[in-house]
Point group: C2
């Protein structure tokens, strides 16, 4: 009974997710094809319209066209809505999956919002998702007002300032990463206020909705003086990894251009450059500098950060922070000779470790194959190809500037990568999974020599 219920819902959720994204991409393509979406005299090629749609719905932000130079104000508003839809899709469906599977199994000791009755369960979930949606809208509205007014010092008209503010907030909090300035956040290179707000918004979008829900629950419960609150293992692990990687990223980016860019600029500029790039490289995709000024070592390092990406059930992509953390724990435990993996006084299921490892190896194979294909198709440096491919897979959207010149075949490869990166390798793999059949008989086991 319970198993049947679970497996049907699981399968439907995966189907739902795919269907949602494919429908959203189709609709976006139609919307962007309308003459009213494009600037007068501009006729964007079909492949670039599809690419923009996939990039917006997967909240990546890679672009084969100049948004500022091709889309009308209507088109820009459409683009912002697409990012919103792309980010919210995983939020709702991802959170649904998390509530159904993750918490239900692991949190029996906690008084959960849902009970075993299906109805209440579903009600609780709908309420949950509504809550996050409201939260998101409130955050967006608040920062829209702040940035809109602030931008009046940059732009001559109120309408221009508020359009820029609107797009900047949506692009940051959805981790969409598109820009209508024509050069990302480079105009705000010395404006630490805009950068700080953008970082906060990117982090809200990338930290994972289950984490936001738990923080909300935590705040709510404390006020009522109820029983002691425990953050879930998932929240502890993903958040620790998330912020550790931001610090490691900033330090790494600094060190790898210690003798380059950061040699002759003041400490606070270095701090904001490295911190902002570290945050944005994990999913945001906005940039405060031309990334070509960084060293090749930094390009490779940032590729690794993009490959890891954001937290699960967030607006980000990549293999995700939990996957990365579980793989590290798995390796560390293996060296120590331990059999089971323990973190934060909890034991991790072996099936989760296997999943994490599978996701990572698959991701490496997919990224490597894409790099191989792009080296055939594009006469550009290997660094810029690796950067572009990991950027698409991590749904980050940063680039060393090769996107606009890519061949149609390469654009298609990047679209596939953005899609896989966004729905997640695991979801993607589960589409191909056969119904489980019980083994008819067991074969004898036999040992192997490894490496």
């Amino acid at each position: 009974m319970y198993n049947k219920y679970k497996s049907i819902h699981q399968w439907n959720s995966f189907q739902l997710l795919l269907l949602y994204y494919i429908a959203a991409i189709a609709l976006s393509t139609i919307l962007l094809s309308l003459p009213v979406s494009q600037q007068p005299g501009i006729d964007i090629p079909f492949i670039d319209i599809v690419f923009t749609a996939v990039s917006a719905i997967s909240v990546t932000g890679l672009s084969t066209i100049s948004i500022a130079g091709s889309l009308s104000t209507t088109g820009i508003i459409f683009l912002a809505l697409m990012m919103q839809i792309g980010a919210v899709g995983i939020m709702t469906i991802g959170t649904m999956l998390w509530v159904m599977l993750g918490r239900r199994i692991g949190f029996k000791e906690r008084n959960m919002i849902m009970t075993d009755q299906n109805q209440t369960h579903f009600d609780g979930m709908v309420k949950l998702i509504k809550n996050i949606a409201y939260l998101l809208l409130i955050v967006e509205a608040l920062f829209f007002v702040i940035l809109g007014f602030y931008f009046t010092t940059y732009y001559t008209s109120y309408s221009e300032a508020f359009l820029q503010g609107f797009f900047a907030v949506i692009s940051a909090v959805t981790n969409g990463g598109f820009d209508i300035t024509g050069q990302s956040l480079i105009p705000f290179q010395s404006d630490y206020f805009v950068q700080a707000i953008t970082m906060i918004l990117i982090i809200i979008g990338a930290i994972g909705y289950p984490v936001i829900i738990e923080i909300k629950e935590y705040v709510f419960r404390r006020r009522k003086q109820e029983q002691r609150f425990h953050f879930s293992l998932f929240t502890k692990l993903t958040t620790t990894t998330f912020f550790s990687l931001i610090v490691v990223g900033a330090v790494g980016i600094y060190l790898f251009d210690f003798n380059g860019l950061f040699k002759n600029i003041p400490w606070h500029e270095s701090l904001f450059y490295t911190l902002f790039q570290s945050v944005t490289t994990r999913s945001g995709g906005l940039a405060t500098m031309d990334l070509n000024v960084l060293s090749n070592t930094n390009h490779l390092f940032m590729s690794a950060l993009m490959f890891i990406g954001a937290s699960p059930s967030s607006a980000g992509g990549g293999i995700r922070t939990t996957t990365f953390a579980l793989v590290l724990i798995f390796l560390f435990t293996f060296i120590r000779g331990g059999r089971s993996v323990k973190i934060f006084h909890r034991e991790v299921y072996e099936v989760d470790l296997n999943k994490a490892v599978t996701v990572t190896i698959f991701a490496i194979i997919i990224v490597f194959s894409s790099v191989i294909l792009l080296t055939i198709l594009e006469p550009v440096s290997l660094e810029s190809i690796i950067f572009e491919v990991t950027s698409a897979f991590g749904t980050v959207g940063l680039s060393l500037g090769i996107t606009e010149g890519l061949s149609a075949a390469s654009k298609i490869i990047l679209m596939i990568l953005m899609f896989i990166g966004r729905v997640g390798i695991l979801t993607f793999l589960l589409i191909f999974r056969r119904k489980k059949e019980p083994a008819k008989f067991n074969y004898p086991k036999e040992r192997m020599i490894i490496g």
Copy 2:
């Protein structure tokens, strides 16, 4: 009792292997430092002597000096002996490990050479290793005579022809990959006889000694009309993978330069170029062409082949064919939703799968970190760095020509990679493994969201 016996022997064998290699490298460094080893007027820097020693003992063949231009005939004979010692080290100790651990557990149904009595066990093993050593010497002597006489058509004096033949045979069968022609096998670019013999020798060295033993057992048993012979799962899997990868490698190398090198040359030249490069890239390290004429895509593809490397307990390096095969099977089974992995009507132990996955991820981390470091240290293209690093880790010895110009720091990194690649990631990791302590209590388990 049994467990204690096993773990002591296991640990001692790993220690033995490390000790063996460190002692061999120290001795080789001393031998190559002797004035009699170097050509008159040549004074090889110490770091390059150590590098040559590590490269020879790990049977890699990367060289920061020109062997033909620096070593005397005595030095060349020393170098050949070092390759022999390097190749035989893993053969004996690796085979010992294989006999002790692998077969003992998996082959209870077969009448093995060893019984539970320690003495007989050890006797059988010594006999086994002696047998392989004799076999190797016979192969070497035979091909030495063939190539020596054949080379009299290339070289004016008999002594030169036989020195060249001697070195060519040792370099090929040990997978050492050094050359004293000054340009690898390029002088034999059109000599399919020399190339065919070299390929056979490289394969004998790279296919794994346990496989050779089983083939020998197979031939021996058939003659006596004993019971039906079963090849072990290990031999089936490793050999299938080994030859499949040779075919895939040749086809890939052809396709990735379909419009380049292979466009205007006859089919038999293409065949020998691709086949020879495919064989040599997996561990041999000899080349019949300047690899710079191949495309960047091919350089990346060959880097992947070098990363995989040869079979376990052979003269090769890399993550090894079994590891690669088990990882693929692991991934495939995961997609299909199966829980246990079956190949050739046998089930694989989960602990072996975990080992294979661990080895692969560790190898990727080590290779990636080395590439990052070399991009800081060397002002050369990323392709040539990736090629050099995977060549060292796979103990292959191919290069795009950057070895001689490397900084001391990069040379040290490559030495470490050659060492790890040769002893194998698993052996390397087990050095750091703590004594297993039973867990004092179990933590509650908790599920995770992956990717």
